[in-house]
């Protein structure tokens, strides 16, 4: 049994979700017999890591700092092995624009997109390019902050008139945003655990057209079907794509890859990869693991063991 520091909370907008993930992980680790040190990631993070000298850190942080490589860099410096992906994989995945470029370059289907920084609009006249983008992507266009893990700040622009408002909202979260072609269809999540794909979860919004941040963490707002009711070939293709993304981005331990199955064409598109997917009662990765016969404690145990094994490899 090991001394495990659970890093949770932090200062990101997903702090509350992270606290819920972290609390569940702590309970699970205690049931597994580990010595648990709970750390709300704040200004004393490095000091607390040095003082408590854990054998491994379970990073249960979501969003800024936790998923963008910042905390991973600190853990490397302090010399504490940690769960999940390393620094460079976090940076590549957390920035949706970087991840989408990598996927496109590698031939992995991802919805067409354009990305801009605030500087491009403020100082380089990027606004003049908007009509051309709108023409190429067709409405509705999805406008997203590049680095926000949840659905916060994601807006649908139904017409050209909606685009500036959607951009203002998205820029509330990040200096870089992307405009992405909307793929109408089924919302699929493929979780990967130690290079093994888990059963696919389909998120079916209840009476809503968009799977939003509200629904993502609430019971009753979204129905989850796991394993998703898909033709075998489609399931296999989605799982293969998820594995390719996992390897392409250099992910480790566990991750979740979100895809859309386009209704009109039955084509799959990868939206993004989440390096530290939620571990709350309603989160998708635990559901997928459960469907594969891996209970929550077993899931957490495997994630920790994997981190320790990578550290000694």
């Amino acid at each position: 049994m090991s001394r495990v520091a659970v890093l949770k909370g932090g200062r990101s907008l997903e702090r509350q979700v992270s606290l819920r993930s972290g609390a569940r992980v702590e309970d699970s680790l205690e049931r597994l017999g580990h010595d648990v040190i709970a750390i709300d990631a704040g200004a004393d993070l490095v000091e607390r890591l040095r003082m408590s000298r854990p054998e491994v850190a379970f990073v249960a942080l979501h969003g800024r700092d936790g998923e963008d490589g910042t905390v991973q860099e600190l853990l490397e410096l302090v010399g504490v092995p940690y769960t999940g992906s390393g620094v460079s994989a976090c940076i590549r995945s957390n920035d949706k624009v970087l991840a989408k470029h990598a996927m496109r370059d590698d031939g992995i289907p991802t919805p067409d997109f354009y990305s801009f920084t605030q500087t491009a609009f403020r100082e380089l006249g990027a606004a003049a390019a908007l009509p051309a983008i709108e023409e190429r992507l067709e409405f509705p266009i999805v406008v997203k902050p590049a680095g926000q893990g949840s659905a916060l700040g994601i807006k649908f622009a139904g017409t050209a008139g909606d685009v500036p408002t959607a951009l203002v909202s998205a820029f509330s979260y990040d200096d870089k945003v992307l405009l992405e072609r909307h793929v109408p269809g089924r919302d699929l999540a493929v979780s990967v655990l130690d290079g093994e794909v888990l059963p696919i979860v389909e998120a079916v919004p209840v009476g809503e057209e968009f799977y939003d941040f509200e629904a993502r963490y609430q019971i009753g707002r979204t129905e989850f079907v796991c394993p998703a009711d898909l033709p075998e070939a489609v399931s296999a293709a989605a799982q293969e794509l998820a594995l390719r993304v996992f390897e392409l981005l250099g992910l480790a331990g566990f991750a979740r890859v979100d895809l859309m199955l386009e209704r009109a064409t039955d084509r799959l598109f990868v939206l993004e990869a989440d390096t530290i997917p939620g571990l709350t009662e309603t989160s998708l990765l635990p559901q997928a693991a459960d469907a594969a016969g891996i209970g929550f404690d077993a899931l957490i145990g495997r994630i920790v063991d994997g981190a320790l094994a990578r550290a000694t490899a």
Partner: protein, 480 residues
């Protein structure tokens, strides 16, 4: 310890099947998560709704509690009557008399905070689908109460004189045609939370007249009227009505302490009897300990001195906020001018979403309540509630400066995106503001802003989860 984890998604699904339908309206949300971040100590929060209890003299508090402990041990530790202790009812009669209301102690129900009155009103009157009329925007803390009783809340616009009574009448006509009778009209007529406006005397008279004509109940929620910083007091609906169709909600939260959790209802006897039965089922009685504390506190007759000191404190803070708004908010913004209370309501151009703006503002360590929290139908997306009672003047000035900065950023960005205006770097915009005559500009705005967020006419229909996104998701601050 078995192999099976304590809570899996399957377990959760099992419980989900047991939850009552009304719990669909009771949920956590992104907005609640964002609001939780506003409570971090390094954030200047203009989002709370708390009175400032730091000015209550510690020695006075200690002395009062010591006397309660020494002289009334057994009573303080014991259950009390469901309707409240007689000594506390006398205090309530005294507080209401200070606002020219004459009430019989028998018509008073002491409650656990004023919030319980809202709950008991719903418990007493609302069946699923029943119509409750509220102001737009309404007190965010009432939204979960209405939701948990599955009320069909219809919101009526306000302007600088409070609820639009013409719109209310049109709504009542429509509902009558549909064969629907509202169970009650919920209003905060004085220094409304969140809008900060006060219903005019003329409208109060008209509302009471309508209540009599139609035998319509009105729930008058009146936590703030003793916190008036200027202007003449306006009679309460209860005093104009004479105790027939107005149920009055009062609270000690804003004039003494929110922590003692004591409020009250005054209503006609048949209603009080039903609410009393409802309260028995909820908590049997309110805290004996804090009721004895209140009775002791009122004994020397100096409770009005403390209220006067709060008035002075909050008036200075309100003025600091109004000055800071004039200095730091861009010309596109508008806000209300509260003559009392704890809140004002600012409205930004409709291309700014204040929920997203809050995420941006939190990076600069400042917080407010996004306007959507005060609507059940998704409106209010470009408005915000700002509280001026909870933090000191310096923090208010700095907080407004920070919010003003991010609003200017977004106004400038939108201008750049639409070609409507040249991009103005934030610093430059701030300098420009300094040379404009700001005296009185936009203060006591024409209320065009609030009217704009209302849309036209009323909204109706059951709130869907999507409609309710964010609605009522605040901690019950500013509450009763």
């Amino acid at each position: 310890m078995g192999d099976r984890p304590r809570s899996t998604s399957r377990d959760l699904e099992r419980y989900a099947g047991l939850f009552a339908n009304r719990t669909r309206e009771m949920k956590s949300s992104a907005m609640r998560d964002l609001m939780a971040i506003t409570e971090r100590p390094d954030v200047i929060s203009l989002a709370g709704g708390q009175p400032d209890t730091s000015t209550f003299p510690p020695e006075s508090y200690a002395g009062l509690m010591s006397r309660v402990a020494a002289e009334s041990t057994a009573r303080a530790l014991q259950y009390g009557p469901t309707d409240g202790m007689a000594a506390v009812k006398d205090c309530i009669v005294e507080v209401m008399a200070s606002e020219d209301m004459r009430v019989d102690p028998d018509d008073v129900l002491v409650t656990t905070g004023g919030q319980q009155v809202i709950d008991l009103m719903c418990k007493t009157f609302v069946d699923p689908g029943d119509v409750v009329v509220a102001e737009a925007p309404t007190y965010p803390g009432a939204v979960p109460s209405f939701g948990s009783y599955q009320a069909d809340v219809v919101q009526v616009s306000m302007d600088a004189d409070g609820m639009r009574i013409d719109e209310l009448e049109a709504l009542l006509e429509r509902l009558e045609r549909e064969g629907r009778r509202p169970k009650f009209v919920y209003t905060v007529p004085s220094f409304q939370n969140p809008a900060g406006v006060t219903m005019s005397l003329e409208r109060r008279r008209r509302l009471v007249a309508i209540a009599h004509e139609r035998e319509l109940l009105v729930l008058e929620d009146n936590p703030y009227s003793l916190l008036r910083y200027e202007g003449e007091p306006v009679p309460t609906l209860q005093s104009l009505d004479g105790g027939n169709f107005v149920v009055y909600l009062g609270t000690f939260s804003k004039i003494l302490s929110a922590g003692i959790r004591l409020g009250w209802a005054v209503a006609p006897a048949p209603i009080i009897e039903k609410m009393n039965l409802g309260k028995q089922g909820v908590d049997l009685c309110s805290s004996s300990m804090t009721q004895l504390f209140v009775a002791e506190y009122f004994r020397d007759g100096r409770w009005t001195d403390y209220v006067a000191s709060l008035r002075e404190l909050y008036r200075r803070r309100r003025d600091a906020m109004l000055d800071a708004l004039a200095e730091h908010f861009p010309r596109e913004a508008e806000w209300t001018y509260p003559q009392g209370g704890m809140f004002l309501w600012a409205t930004l151009p409709d291309y700014i979403d204040t929920t997203d703006l809050l995420a941006r503002a939190l990076q600069d360590k400042v917080a407010f309540v996004p306007g959507r929290a005060a609507y059940l139908d998704g409106r209010g997306g470009s408005s915000m509630r700002l509280n001026f009672s909870g933090v000191g003047e310096d923090a208010i000035r700095e907080g407004i400066r920070r919010i003003g900065k991010v609003v200017r950023e977004q106004v400038g960005l939108y201008g750049t995106l639409t070609g409507a205006a040249p991009a103005a770097p934030a610093e430059q915009a701030e300098r420009a503001a300094d040379v404009i005559d700001l005296s009185g500009r936009r203060l006591a705005s024409s209320w065009a802003s609030l009217a704009r967020t209302q849309g036209v006419g009323q909204s109706s229909g059951r709130p869907t989860p999507e409609d309710n996104a964010g609605g009522g998701q605040m901690p019950p601050d500013g509450g009763r």
